[in-house]
Amino acid sequence: MVTAHPIHVALRDVTKIFQSKLGSVEALGPIDLELRQGEFFAVVGPSGCGKSTLLDIMAALTPPSSGTVTFEGRPIGNSVPDGVGVVFQENACFPWLNVADNIIFGLRRQPLDQAEIERRLQYALQLMGLNDFSRAFPAQLSGGMRQRVCIARTLVMQPRLILLDEPFGALDQQTRLLMGDELLRIWRATGATVLLITHALDEAAMLADRVAVMSARPGRILEVIETGWPRDRDSRIVSAPEFGAIAGRLWTLLRTQSLQALRPDTA
């Protein structure tokens, strides 16, 4: 199975050390990780284990202290490579622009004609259920709707790799489940490789083809679990017995690490 999917992103011996006034802090690694072309990959780990730092490194938003990251076979440099889109946990809508202008913000800086921009905008509005809100401003939208705008803004750029940094962290449980369904739909529609950083084990167990479990700081990959879900899954799988088994397995792996993150002196 593995050989059928080419490697899309590869991390080799990646570490991150932050320098502060109190000295250096080992935040991450060393990490070796491979994302297969077109898979939905989730990363879970205790608070402060470096999940978001891992995403920042993969997006070239922050350089690794050592090691290499390759995207589509080429090492990434100091700027975000073409074909990579990122959705953050925080509200990243531009408050002075309406929904449509937020979505096409990046497209306007691409060598595209107006008809193509309009076509992609309409596709994204349709896909994200934002048709009736294209002229609304972010302040008029709920948290979930704003996050849809940010996802739409990422999608119109037609990324081949979508990095999601706890995109539903600020939403309530029902909205998260529904947004998870939408994410699966988008993933199938675009064929992109998706990396989801999350602290929610159920979210990872429901959405991902594979889930990497990270240790407490400095974050390392403890284990990668294959979920074995079919590609056309949706949130109804939470009632499947396998779902409970996967979520249980993730918690077993994470419990010690979370305790260690909570009380470092007991480590």
Binding site: S79, V80, V86, F88, A92, F94, P95, A139
Partner: protein
Amino acid sequence: MRVLLYRLLAVVLPVAMLEILCRSHVIPPLTLPAPSLITLGLLGILEHGTFNAAIVKTLTNVGLAIALAVTVGTIAGAALHRARTLRALLEPLFSTYYAIPIYAFYPLFIVVFGLGDAPQVTIGFMLAVVSMIVSTLAGLDSVPPVLGKTAQVLQLGPVATIRSVTLPYAAPYLFTGVKLAIAYAFIGVIGAEFIMSNTGLGYEIRFAYDNLDNAVMYPLILLILLIAVVVNMSLDHWERVLRARRERA
């Protein structure tokens, strides 16, 4: 609507009271002519164009001071936002800046810039620029880091990020800076014309005062008042439009 009525009454009632006090000579005409006479005097001055040159001179100098202060202030604010050490050095100066009586330096400006318009524009600029720098810094400080990351993901360079993301986000703060800069520029330029100049509205008001010429002095004071109020109210309107778009729920 009711608020508008109260606001109107807050202006109309004191003016009406003043009119009655002046007309009944409780306030002598030499101290203050009736507001209606001041208004008629202003209309006459504008109709005859007696002080058109002075009005144009003052407004040009104020405009120059504003343009310089807003441009230099925004660029300096954006640059200081990145130069943390320099900002840390200058911040105490900014916080005490308006405690400095800038007119005390007027003789120095005359020595440096001569007797033309430059000293007046310089004082207007110097009073206005710091409010613009401080507002720009406050605006840029308010930009959430996630918007900077978003700009990076959308492959915007540093200049495009400032122009298309950080400055638009900081626009309400910049607007406050512009409003203050306009007020300070008026104060600076007209104040400088009062002290040492032979042109401009400030000079004409002082000249009329020296000659007990109330028929000129009060209408010109009213003119300055009207210009300041109209400019400020227009800016207030635009600021409300700008904020409403961002904050309506």
